[in-house]
Protein backbone atom coordinates (compact mmCIF):
# COMPACT_ATOMS: atom_id res chain seq x y z
CA UNK A 1 0.00 0.00 0.00
CA UNK A 2 1.09 3.51 -0.59
CA UNK A 3 1.05 6.20 2.04
CA UNK A 4 -0.62 8.27 -0.69
CA UNK A 5 -3.80 6.25 -0.64
CA UNK A 6 -3.75 6.05 3.12
CA UNK A 7 -3.71 9.84 3.34
CA UNK A 8 -6.37 10.19 0.65
CA UNK A 9 -8.64 7.82 2.58
CA UNK A 10 -8.17 9.88 5.73
CA UNK A 11 -8.89 13.14 3.93
CA UNK A 12 -12.08 11.61 2.60
CA UNK A 13 -13.33 11.86 6.21
CA UNK A 14 -12.73 15.62 6.20
CA UNK A 15 -9.98 18.23 5.99
CA UNK A 16 -6.88 17.68 8.13
CA UNK A 17 -3.40 19.10 8.58
CA UNK A 18 -0.13 17.19 8.69
CA UNK A 19 0.06 16.24 12.36
CA UNK A 20 -3.58 15.21 12.41
CA UNK A 21 -3.00 13.01 9.37
CA UNK A 22 -0.03 11.37 10.97
CA UNK A 23 -1.94 10.65 14.19
CA UNK A 24 -4.99 9.33 12.30
CA UNK A 25 -2.81 7.14 10.08
CA UNK A 26 -1.08 5.54 13.04
CA UNK A 27 -4.37 5.10 14.83
CA UNK A 28 -5.97 3.29 11.94
CA UNK A 29 -3.02 0.94 11.50
CA UNK A 30 -2.67 0.41 15.25
CA UNK A 31 0.79 2.03 15.12
CA UNK A 32 2.07 -0.91 13.09
CA UNK A 33 3.07 1.53 10.41
CA UNK A 34 4.68 4.55 12.02
CA UNK A 35 5.08 7.59 9.81
CA UNK A 36 7.36 10.50 10.37
CA UNK A 37 5.98 13.95 9.75
CA UNK A 38 8.44 14.47 6.88
CA UNK A 39 6.88 11.56 4.98
CA UNK A 40 3.45 13.08 5.49
CA UNK A 41 4.46 16.46 4.07
CA UNK A 42 6.41 14.98 1.15
CA UNK A 43 3.39 12.87 0.25
CA UNK A 44 1.01 15.83 0.60
CA UNK A 45 3.23 17.87 -1.74
CA UNK A 46 3.09 15.13 -4.37
CA UNK A 47 -0.65 14.71 -4.00
CA UNK A 48 -1.05 18.47 -4.43
CA UNK A 49 1.22 18.43 -7.49
CA UNK A 50 -0.95 15.67 -9.00
CA UNK A 51 -4.15 17.55 -8.23
CA UNK A 52 -5.49 14.97 -5.80
CA UNK A 53 -5.57 17.27 -2.75
CA UNK A 54 -5.66 21.03 -2.33
CA UNK A 55 -4.26 23.15 0.51
CA UNK A 56 -6.66 25.41 2.43
CA UNK A 57 -5.82 28.70 4.17
CA UNK A 58 -3.63 28.34 7.23
CA UNK A 59 -5.20 28.22 10.69
CA UNK A 60 -4.26 30.84 13.23
CA UNK A 61 -1.88 28.34 14.78
CA UNK A 62 -0.01 28.15 11.47
CA UNK A 63 -1.27 24.68 10.49
CA UNK A 64 -2.35 24.29 6.91
CA UNK A 65 -5.22 21.83 6.40
CA UNK A 66 -5.71 19.93 3.16
CA UNK A 67 -8.84 18.63 1.49
CA UNK A 68 -9.34 15.91 -1.08
CA UNK A 69 -10.30 16.90 -4.67
CA UNK A 70 -12.67 15.11 -7.04
CA UNK A 71 -9.66 13.67 -8.85
CA UNK A 72 -8.39 12.45 -5.47
CA UNK A 73 -11.73 10.79 -4.77
CA UNK A 74 -11.63 9.00 -8.12
CA UNK A 75 -8.08 7.83 -7.46
CA UNK A 76 -9.09 6.55 -4.04
CA UNK A 77 -12.14 4.71 -5.43
CA UNK A 78 -9.91 3.06 -8.03
CA UNK A 79 -7.49 1.97 -5.32
CA UNK A 80 -10.26 0.36 -3.26
CA UNK A 81 -11.61 -1.35 -6.40
CA UNK A 82 -8.27 -2.78 -7.54
CA UNK A 83 -6.84 -5.94 -5.96
CA UNK A 84 -3.26 -5.73 -4.77
CA UNK A 85 -0.90 -7.71 -6.94
CA UNK A 86 1.52 -10.02 -5.18
CA UNK A 87 4.12 -9.08 -7.78
CA UNK A 88 4.15 -5.53 -6.42
CA UNK A 89 5.28 -6.65 -2.99
CA UNK A 90 8.94 -6.73 -2.10
CA UNK A 91 10.79 -9.99 -2.63
CA UNK A 92 10.67 -12.34 0.28
CA UNK A 93 14.09 -12.28 1.88
CA UNK A 94 13.45 -15.39 3.93
CA UNK A 95 12.75 -17.71 1.00
CA UNK A 96 15.84 -16.43 -0.78
CA UNK A 97 17.89 -16.90 2.38
CA UNK A 98 16.77 -20.54 2.71
CA UNK A 99 17.42 -21.27 -0.94
CA UNK A 100 20.93 -19.89 -0.54
CA UNK A 101 21.44 -21.75 2.75
CA UNK A 102 20.80 -25.03 0.91
CA UNK A 103 23.51 -24.40 -1.61
CA UNK A 104 26.08 -22.67 0.59
CA UNK A 105 28.66 -25.05 2.07
CA UNK A 106 28.86 -25.24 5.85
CA UNK A 107 25.38 -23.78 6.57
CA UNK A 108 23.11 -25.80 8.87
CA UNK A 109 19.82 -25.32 7.04
CA UNK A 110 17.78 -26.99 9.77
CA UNK A 111 19.16 -24.55 12.30
CA UNK A 112 18.21 -21.67 10.01
CA UNK A 113 14.67 -23.07 9.78
CA UNK A 114 14.39 -23.61 13.52
CA UNK A 115 15.75 -20.18 14.44
CA UNK A 116 13.32 -18.52 12.07
CA UNK A 117 10.38 -20.57 13.29
CA UNK A 118 11.06 -19.64 16.92
CA UNK A 119 11.31 -15.97 16.00
CA UNK A 120 8.11 -16.03 13.94
CA UNK A 121 6.32 -17.99 16.65
CA UNK A 122 7.35 -15.33 19.13
CA UNK A 123 5.93 -12.66 16.86
CA UNK A 124 2.73 -14.66 16.62
CA UNK A 125 2.50 -14.84 20.42
CA UNK A 126 3.04 -11.10 20.69
CA UNK A 127 0.39 -10.36 18.06
CA UNK A 128 -2.08 -12.64 19.82
CA UNK A 129 -1.48 -10.89 23.11
CA UNK A 130 -2.17 -7.55 21.48
CA UNK A 131 -5.35 -8.96 19.99
CA UNK A 132 -6.45 -10.35 23.33
CA UNK A 133 -5.97 -6.91 24.83
CA UNK A 134 -8.09 -5.18 22.15
CA UNK A 135 -11.54 -6.66 22.53
CA UNK A 136 -13.73 -3.58 22.51
CA UNK A 137 -16.12 -3.33 19.55
CA UNK A 138 -14.42 -0.13 18.39
CA UNK A 139 -11.11 -2.03 18.20
CA UNK A 140 -12.36 -4.04 15.21
CA UNK A 141 -10.35 -2.26 12.47
CA UNK A 142 -7.20 -2.66 14.54
CA UNK A 143 -8.01 -6.31 15.33
CA UNK A 144 -8.39 -7.05 11.63
CA UNK A 145 -4.98 -5.51 10.94
CA UNK A 146 -3.57 -7.75 13.68
CA UNK A 147 -5.39 -10.77 12.22
CA UNK A 148 -3.74 -10.13 8.87
CA UNK A 149 -0.33 -10.20 10.53
CA UNK A 150 -1.32 -13.31 12.50
CA UNK A 151 -2.33 -15.19 9.35
CA UNK A 152 0.85 -14.13 7.58
CA UNK A 153 3.00 -15.32 10.47
CA UNK A 154 1.05 -18.57 10.56
CA UNK A 155 1.61 -19.09 6.84
CA UNK A 156 5.32 -18.55 7.30
CA UNK A 157 5.46 -21.14 10.10
CA UNK A 158 3.55 -23.66 7.98
CA UNK A 159 5.97 -23.07 5.16
CA UNK A 160 8.94 -23.53 7.54
CA UNK A 161 7.42 -26.82 8.78
CA UNK A 162 7.07 -27.85 5.16
CA UNK A 163 10.73 -26.93 4.54
CA UNK A 164 11.78 -29.01 7.52
CA UNK A 165 9.97 -32.15 6.35
CA UNK A 166 11.35 -31.64 2.85
CA UNK A 167 14.86 -31.37 4.29
CA UNK A 168 14.54 -34.76 5.98
CA UNK A 169 14.27 -36.34 2.54
CA UNK A 170 16.75 -34.03 0.88
CA UNK A 171 20.00 -35.56 -0.34
CA UNK A 172 22.12 -33.18 -2.37
CA UNK A 173 23.33 -34.59 -5.67
CA UNK A 174 27.01 -35.55 -5.45
CA UNK A 175 29.36 -33.04 -7.03
CA UNK A 176 29.98 -33.77 -10.71
CA UNK A 177 32.85 -36.15 -11.51
CA UNK A 178 32.48 -38.18 -8.34
CA UNK A 179 30.72 -41.53 -8.33
CA UNK A 180 28.60 -42.46 -5.37
CA UNK A 181 29.44 -45.54 -3.40
CA UNK A 182 26.34 -47.80 -3.31
CA UNK A 183 26.67 -48.14 0.47
CA UNK A 184 26.34 -44.38 0.89
CA UNK A 185 23.00 -44.43 -0.86
CA UNK A 186 21.79 -47.22 1.38
CA UNK A 187 22.72 -45.29 4.47
CA UNK A 188 20.96 -42.21 3.20
CA UNK A 189 17.83 -44.24 2.54
CA UNK A 190 18.11 -45.78 5.95
CA UNK A 191 18.26 -42.33 7.51
CA UNK A 192 15.34 -41.09 5.45
CA UNK A 193 13.21 -43.98 6.63
CA UNK A 194 14.03 -43.34 10.25
Amino acid sequence: MSIRHGLLALLERGQMYGYQLRAAFEESTGSTWPLNIGQVYTTLNRLERDGLVRPLPEHEGGQRPYEITDAGRADLALWFATPISRADRPRDELSIKLALALTTPGVDVRAVVQTQRSATMRTLQELTRLKYASDRPEDLPWRLVLDAMVFQAEAEIRWLDHCETSLVRYRPAPPAGRTTHPGAVDRADEEARR
Binding site: E26, G30, S31, T32, P34, L35, N36, Q114, R117, S118, T120, M121, R122, L124, Q125, E126, L127, T128, R129, L130, Y132, A133, V150, F151, A153, E154, I157, R158, D161, T165
Partner: protein, 244 residues
Protein backbone atom coordinates in the same frame (compact mmCIF):
# COMPACT_ATOMS: atom_id res chain seq x y z
CA UNK B 1 7.74 -27.29 46.91
CA UNK B 2 4.60 -25.27 47.54
CA UNK B 3 3.49 -21.64 47.43
CA UNK B 4 1.44 -19.72 44.92
CA UNK B 5 4.09 -19.86 42.21
CA UNK B 6 5.03 -23.53 42.64
CA UNK B 7 4.72 -25.53 39.43
CA UNK B 8 1.33 -27.11 38.85
CA UNK B 9 2.84 -29.57 36.39
CA UNK B 10 6.40 -30.81 36.35
CA UNK B 11 7.60 -33.42 33.85
CA UNK B 12 11.09 -34.60 34.77
CA UNK B 13 13.10 -36.36 32.09
CA UNK B 14 10.06 -38.33 31.03
CA UNK B 15 10.35 -41.30 28.67
CA UNK B 16 7.54 -43.38 27.24
CA UNK B 17 8.23 -46.46 25.18
CA UNK B 18 5.52 -48.65 23.70
CA UNK B 19 6.47 -52.30 23.11
CA UNK B 20 9.97 -53.65 23.50
CA UNK B 21 12.95 -54.98 21.59
CA UNK B 22 13.03 -54.33 17.86
CA UNK B 23 9.35 -53.35 17.82
CA UNK B 24 9.77 -50.67 20.51
CA UNK B 25 8.36 -47.25 19.68
CA UNK B 26 9.90 -44.41 21.63
CA UNK B 27 7.05 -41.91 21.91
CA UNK B 28 8.89 -39.61 24.32
CA UNK B 29 12.62 -39.59 24.90
CA UNK B 30 13.57 -37.50 27.86
CA UNK B 31 11.17 -34.55 27.99
CA UNK B 32 11.26 -32.06 30.86
CA UNK B 33 8.61 -29.38 31.17
CA UNK B 34 7.46 -27.16 34.02
CA UNK B 35 4.16 -25.26 33.95
CA UNK B 36 3.36 -22.70 36.64
CA UNK B 37 0.06 -21.08 37.62
CA UNK B 38 -0.99 -18.45 35.11
CA UNK B 39 1.02 -20.07 32.38
CA UNK B 40 -0.30 -21.57 29.15
CA UNK B 41 2.16 -23.78 27.28
CA UNK B 42 1.49 -24.90 23.72
CA UNK B 43 3.00 -28.13 22.43
CA UNK B 44 3.53 -28.30 18.70
CA UNK B 45 4.99 -30.89 16.40
CA UNK B 46 4.11 -33.14 13.48
CA UNK B 47 1.93 -36.22 13.86
CA UNK B 48 3.74 -38.90 15.81
CA UNK B 49 6.10 -36.45 17.51
CA UNK B 50 4.78 -37.32 20.98
CA UNK B 51 2.39 -34.41 21.63
CA UNK B 52 -0.59 -36.45 22.70
CA UNK B 53 1.55 -38.87 24.70
CA UNK B 54 2.88 -35.92 26.64
CA UNK B 55 -0.66 -34.82 27.43
CA UNK B 56 -1.89 -38.24 28.57
CA UNK B 57 1.15 -38.57 30.85
CA UNK B 58 0.58 -35.09 32.27
CA UNK B 59 -3.03 -36.02 33.01
CA UNK B 60 -2.16 -39.30 34.73
CA UNK B 61 -4.00 -41.30 32.07
CA UNK B 62 -0.78 -43.20 31.32
CA UNK B 63 2.52 -43.69 33.17
CA UNK B 64 6.01 -42.95 31.93
CA UNK B 65 8.52 -45.75 31.28
CA UNK B 66 11.13 -43.61 33.02
CA UNK B 67 11.18 -40.19 34.64
CA UNK B 68 8.61 -38.54 36.85
CA UNK B 69 5.34 -36.64 36.44
CA UNK B 70 4.51 -34.30 39.34
CA UNK B 71 1.13 -32.56 39.61
CA UNK B 72 0.74 -29.94 42.35
CA UNK B 73 3.72 -31.34 44.18
CA UNK B 74 2.51 -34.95 44.06
CA UNK B 75 4.61 -37.43 42.08
CA UNK B 76 1.93 -39.42 40.24
CA UNK B 77 4.05 -42.59 40.44
CA UNK B 78 3.60 -42.66 44.24
CA UNK B 79 -0.22 -42.59 44.11
CA UNK B 80 -2.39 -45.71 44.10
CA UNK B 81 -5.27 -46.06 41.64
CA UNK B 82 -7.83 -44.45 43.91
CA UNK B 83 -5.68 -41.48 44.79
CA UNK B 84 -4.79 -40.97 41.16
CA UNK B 85 -8.43 -41.11 40.08
CA UNK B 86 -9.32 -38.56 42.74
CA UNK B 87 -6.54 -36.20 41.67
CA UNK B 88 -7.72 -36.49 38.07
CA UNK B 89 -11.32 -35.70 38.99
CA UNK B 90 -10.53 -32.80 41.28
CA UNK B 91 -7.48 -31.15 39.90
CA UNK B 92 -7.21 -31.86 36.21
CA UNK B 93 -9.54 -30.74 33.44
CA UNK B 94 -9.39 -32.25 29.96
CA UNK B 95 -10.66 -30.87 26.70
CA UNK B 96 -10.41 -33.24 23.79
CA UNK B 97 -11.17 -32.86 20.13
CA UNK B 98 -14.01 -35.37 20.36
CA UNK B 99 -16.03 -33.85 23.11
CA UNK B 100 -17.15 -36.98 24.97
CA UNK B 101 -20.37 -35.31 26.06
CA UNK B 102 -23.05 -37.76 27.18
CA UNK B 103 -26.06 -37.36 24.89
CA UNK B 104 -28.56 -38.52 27.50
CA UNK B 105 -27.54 -35.80 29.98
CA UNK B 106 -28.26 -32.08 29.76
CA UNK B 107 -25.43 -29.56 29.45
CA UNK B 108 -25.59 -28.82 33.19
CA UNK B 109 -25.63 -32.53 34.06
CA UNK B 110 -22.64 -33.18 31.81
CA UNK B 111 -20.70 -30.43 33.54
CA UNK B 112 -21.77 -31.51 37.04
CA UNK B 113 -20.85 -35.13 36.43
CA UNK B 114 -17.18 -35.06 37.49
CA UNK B 115 -18.14 -33.31 40.74
CA UNK B 116 -20.90 -35.82 41.49
CA UNK B 117 -18.56 -38.71 40.76
CA UNK B 118 -16.25 -37.12 43.26
CA UNK B 119 -18.91 -37.32 45.96
CA UNK B 120 -20.18 -33.77 45.81
CA UNK B 121 -23.90 -33.39 46.54
CA UNK B 122 -26.28 -32.92 43.61
CA UNK B 123 -27.16 -29.33 44.52
CA UNK B 124 -23.65 -27.92 45.02
CA UNK B 125 -22.52 -29.79 41.88
CA UNK B 126 -25.35 -28.21 39.91
CA UNK B 127 -24.56 -24.76 41.28
CA UNK B 128 -20.92 -25.14 40.25
CA UNK B 129 -21.97 -26.46 36.85
CA UNK B 130 -24.23 -23.48 36.18
CA UNK B 131 -21.44 -21.12 37.23
CA UNK B 132 -19.04 -22.87 34.84
CA UNK B 133 -21.58 -22.66 32.01
CA UNK B 134 -21.97 -18.98 32.71
CA UNK B 135 -18.19 -18.56 32.57
CA UNK B 136 -18.16 -19.97 29.03
CA UNK B 137 -21.08 -17.79 27.92
CA UNK B 138 -23.86 -20.42 28.03
CA UNK B 139 -26.06 -18.78 30.64
CA UNK B 140 -29.58 -20.22 30.44
CA UNK B 141 -28.67 -23.17 28.22
CA UNK B 142 -28.04 -25.65 31.04
CA UNK B 143 -31.20 -27.67 30.35
CA UNK B 144 -30.43 -28.31 26.68
CA UNK B 145 -29.21 -31.67 25.50
CA UNK B 146 -26.01 -31.78 23.42
CA UNK B 147 -27.90 -32.51 20.19
CA UNK B 148 -29.94 -29.33 20.73
CA UNK B 149 -26.77 -27.23 20.63
CA UNK B 150 -24.41 -26.08 17.90
CA UNK B 151 -20.90 -27.51 17.58
CA UNK B 152 -19.44 -24.39 19.13
CA UNK B 153 -21.86 -24.53 22.07
CA UNK B 154 -21.09 -28.21 22.64
CA UNK B 155 -17.40 -27.39 22.69
CA UNK B 156 -18.10 -24.74 25.31
CA UNK B 157 -19.93 -27.30 27.43
CA UNK B 158 -16.87 -29.56 27.18
CA UNK B 159 -14.72 -26.65 28.32
CA UNK B 160 -17.06 -25.83 31.18
CA UNK B 161 -16.75 -29.47 32.27
CA UNK B 162 -12.97 -29.16 32.19
CA UNK B 163 -13.04 -25.95 34.21
CA UNK B 164 -15.74 -26.78 36.76
CA UNK B 165 -14.73 -26.78 40.41
CA UNK B 166 -11.18 -26.03 41.42
CA UNK B 167 -9.23 -27.48 38.56
CA UNK B 168 -5.76 -26.05 38.50
CA UNK B 169 -4.43 -27.95 35.52
CA UNK B 170 -6.24 -27.75 32.19
CA UNK B 171 -5.09 -30.06 29.42
CA UNK B 172 -6.40 -29.47 25.92
CA UNK B 173 -5.81 -31.60 22.83
CA UNK B 174 -6.73 -29.72 19.64
CA UNK B 175 -9.67 -28.19 21.51
CA UNK B 176 -10.89 -26.16 18.56
CA UNK B 177 -11.40 -29.31 16.48
CA UNK B 178 -13.38 -28.59 13.38
CA UNK B 179 -14.85 -25.31 14.61
CA UNK B 180 -14.78 -22.29 12.33
CA UNK B 181 -12.05 -19.77 13.04
CA UNK B 182 -14.21 -17.35 15.06
CA UNK B 183 -15.69 -20.05 17.30
CA UNK B 184 -12.31 -21.72 17.66
CA UNK B 185 -10.87 -18.43 18.75
CA UNK B 186 -13.60 -18.01 21.37
CA UNK B 187 -12.62 -21.40 22.80
CA UNK B 188 -8.97 -20.33 23.09
CA UNK B 189 -10.10 -17.05 24.63
CA UNK B 190 -11.85 -19.02 27.39
CA UNK B 191 -8.82 -21.18 28.01
CA UNK B 192 -6.60 -18.12 28.16
CA UNK B 193 -8.93 -16.40 30.63
CA UNK B 194 -8.97 -19.36 32.96
CA UNK B 195 -5.20 -19.57 32.89
CA UNK B 196 -4.95 -15.84 33.56
CA UNK B 197 -7.14 -16.45 36.60
CA UNK B 198 -4.50 -18.78 38.02
CA UNK B 199 -4.75 -22.20 36.37
CA UNK B 200 -1.92 -23.85 34.47
CA UNK B 201 -2.66 -24.97 30.92
CA UNK B 202 -1.15 -27.24 28.31
CA UNK B 203 -2.48 -26.95 24.78
CA UNK B 204 -1.56 -29.50 22.15
CA UNK B 205 -2.06 -28.14 18.66
CA UNK B 206 -0.63 -28.33 15.18
CA UNK B 207 -1.84 -24.84 14.33
CA UNK B 208 0.62 -22.05 14.91
CA UNK B 209 -2.21 -19.53 15.15
CA UNK B 210 -3.59 -21.36 18.17
CA UNK B 211 -0.19 -21.80 19.74
CA UNK B 212 0.07 -18.02 19.56
CA UNK B 213 -2.27 -17.85 22.58
CA UNK B 214 0.34 -19.53 24.76
CA UNK B 215 2.98 -17.93 26.93
CA UNK B 216 5.47 -20.50 25.78
CA UNK B 217 5.57 -22.81 22.80
CA UNK B 218 7.56 -26.03 22.79
CA UNK B 219 8.27 -28.04 19.66
CA UNK B 220 8.49 -31.82 19.76
CA UNK B 221 10.24 -33.84 17.12
CA UNK B 222 10.47 -37.64 17.38
CA UNK B 223 9.80 -37.55 21.11
CA UNK B 224 12.41 -34.91 21.86
CA UNK B 225 11.90 -31.25 22.65
CA UNK B 226 13.83 -29.50 19.92
CA UNK B 227 12.94 -25.93 20.55
CA UNK B 228 11.00 -23.66 22.81
CA UNK B 229 9.95 -20.06 22.78
CA UNK B 230 8.61 -17.44 25.16
CA UNK B 231 7.39 -13.92 24.55
CA UNK B 232 9.85 -11.18 25.21
CA UNK B 233 9.07 -9.14 28.30
CA UNK B 234 6.95 -6.08 27.83
CA UNK B 235 5.71 -7.00 24.38
CA UNK B 236 2.53 -5.01 24.85
CA UNK B 237 4.73 -2.03 24.10
CA UNK B 238 6.09 -3.65 20.97
CA UNK B 239 3.76 -1.93 18.58
CA UNK B 240 2.25 0.86 20.61
CA UNK B 241 5.71 2.16 21.46
CA UNK B 242 7.10 1.99 17.94
CA UNK B 243 7.75 4.97 15.78
CA UNK B 244 8.88 7.23 18.57
Amino acid sequence: MSGPDAPVLDLRDVHRTHGSGAAAVHALRGVSLTVRPGELVAVMGPSGSGKSTLLTLAGGLDSPTAGEVVVEGQPLGTLDHRELARLRRRRIGYVFQDLNLLGSLTAAENVALPLELDGSGVRPARRAALAALEEVGLTGLGERFPDQMSGGQQQRVAIARALVGERRLVLADEPTGALDSQTGEAVLHLLRRRVDAGAAGVLVTHEARHAGWADRVVFLRDGIMVDSTAPLPGVEQLLSGSGR
